[in-house]
Symmetry: C2
Subunit: 341 residues, 2 copies
Amino acid sequence: MAEEGVPGATDFPVKRPREEEEENGVSASAVSMELEGNKEQPDCISTVIPGWFSEISPMWPGEAHSLKVEKILFQGKSEYQSVMVFQSSTYGKVLILDGVIQLTERDECAYQEMITHLPLCSIPNPKKVLVIGGGDGGVLREVSRHSSIEQIDICEIDKMVVDVSKQFFPDIAVGYDDPRVNLHIGDGVAFLKAVPEGTYDAVIVDSSDPVGPAQELFEKPFFQSVSNALRPGGVVCTQAESIWLHMDIIEGIVANCRQIFKGSVNYAWTTVPTYPSGVIGFMLCSTEGPPVDFKHPVNPIDANESSNKCKGPLKFYNSEIHTAAFCLPSFAKKVIESKAK
Amino acid sequence: MAEEGVPGATDFPVKRPREEEEENGVSASAVSMELEGNKEQPDCISTVIPGWFSEISPMWPGEAHSLKVEKILFQGKSEYQSVMVFQSSTYGKVLILDGVIQLTERDECAYQEMITHLPLCSIPNPKKVLVIGGGDGGVLREVSRHSSIEQIDICEIDKMVVDVSKQFFPDIAVGYDDPRVNLHIGDGVAFLKAVPEGTYDAVIVDSSDPVGPAQELFEKPFFQSVSNALRPGGVVCTQAESIWLHMDIIEGIVANCRQIFKGSVNYAWTTVPTYPSGVIGFMLCSTEGPPVDFKHPVNPIDANESSNKCKGPLKFYNSEIHTAAFCLPSFAKKVIESKAK
């Protein structure tokens, strides 16, 4: 039970911010210079300034979202990325990877529920599911609400993300408590290549942005591996950026998917306040086989009250918002539908 | 034609920010103190720091969205509020009232198209429309796409907003060029009280947040006046805040509307990246009379190509996203539907 503690948590060295100066030498009074001088910062790593965290990246130039920090709970550097957790003043605890907000306790429900139930509610009786990324465990929590599921494999590259989530985000890492879950620490690309053909009913790719460790997860060879790992009529859902910021990236993903997934190729989106531009999208594709109509869920979860016992009720997802997520603003529809043909 | 110049523009004194110090005495190097010290700032007015504009308000504590400023184009103080226009580096020109972003050229389409076409596409043959607020002219631009409309009245309290929009936002203020438009500068509450009963097919309330000049536009007597001004089966659409930030305000608005509008009471939402939390909602209500099913538009505008000549094509709205806008996340649905009964 998540409430009872943090199973398997490691004792991390917790660093505290100093009053006047951060470790990297940026002083509190240099905030505006820091904002201005983003170009000079290596690895696009935003800096925690005393009082506030600002998310600055060339992925969304000219804008920044900031959250007020109550207390920094963890700062570390794994083999792959920098990892930080802080208590914010109004969004609960926040997980940051390489300076980019991955989740906040206040709005994680929108992302985790949508990336999971959009694919799983679109096929009858999913039994075997693979999660690539998603080390925080939130997608696992949502997958495990489906009683038809027998096997949940997850391949996360960065063990530090798993450990940090188990220590600081028990209501999210609760997903790991499910006995159907098998955790593999390793490269998702390599893992998928080794999967026997047609193994999974669904693959969920819960990745960070296509810079850093997640870059390959947006490329064509990866989609080919996903397709091979899926049964005929199997489904994939991948994190697919923002229609407001990244139509160029999305255009490329749609074009790649159209070549590889011969069932159907769709784009859906949802609102997540702490993601840049306030929205995040998903590619939903199926392989050749029994047809999948993603827009009309055949496996509704709304009424499945038994799933709520350990995990609490669904906060965001319902069948209506499932269908609505596929309705795109005209500017996005035009680009996506032209690529999808 | 908007492209030919700025009809009726006033010659405003344009103030430039000084290098080291803003007019209010906040120095460039004091940014973090300023962020921290928001409590002390009068009127929640965010300050332009050299390089960036940060939107800070007790309406969304603990978070701030910032836009990089290329050039400040206008700063003034009207009888009602402070008014600022700046050129941002990635969102086009931006209009700020009392420190809060009202619109940016890059994403204004989402707000203006949805607040207008959600009500007008829900009734057959709208003829007389009243806009309360909306001084920038964007809603007028959208209303005037509807060829059935004979009369468009607008009541904006602050002439400076109208003038500034005509000078700096010609593609938005183009709405004023329509000969069906009658501009009234004055208090929307008083204007509505004087409207003969049953005058309008639709009333659109394009207000700022319920602090400052727009406060009364969220209160029951105002909704009663709107109801009186509408014909039987007439519709109102009002700006109704964010489901992520303001469920308490929304709950109150829904309860008020339910008492006053005896046709139907609905909540819809859309994505606007530069609004706090990235979403904005609308109350859509109808008066007793011919029933209005807001979720299924009877007056589609998608095919109305003639409207595109001066104003450009619709960028955001289409009939699918109209219907989708009424699908709410479970956490919001629960509150809104319980109040709506």
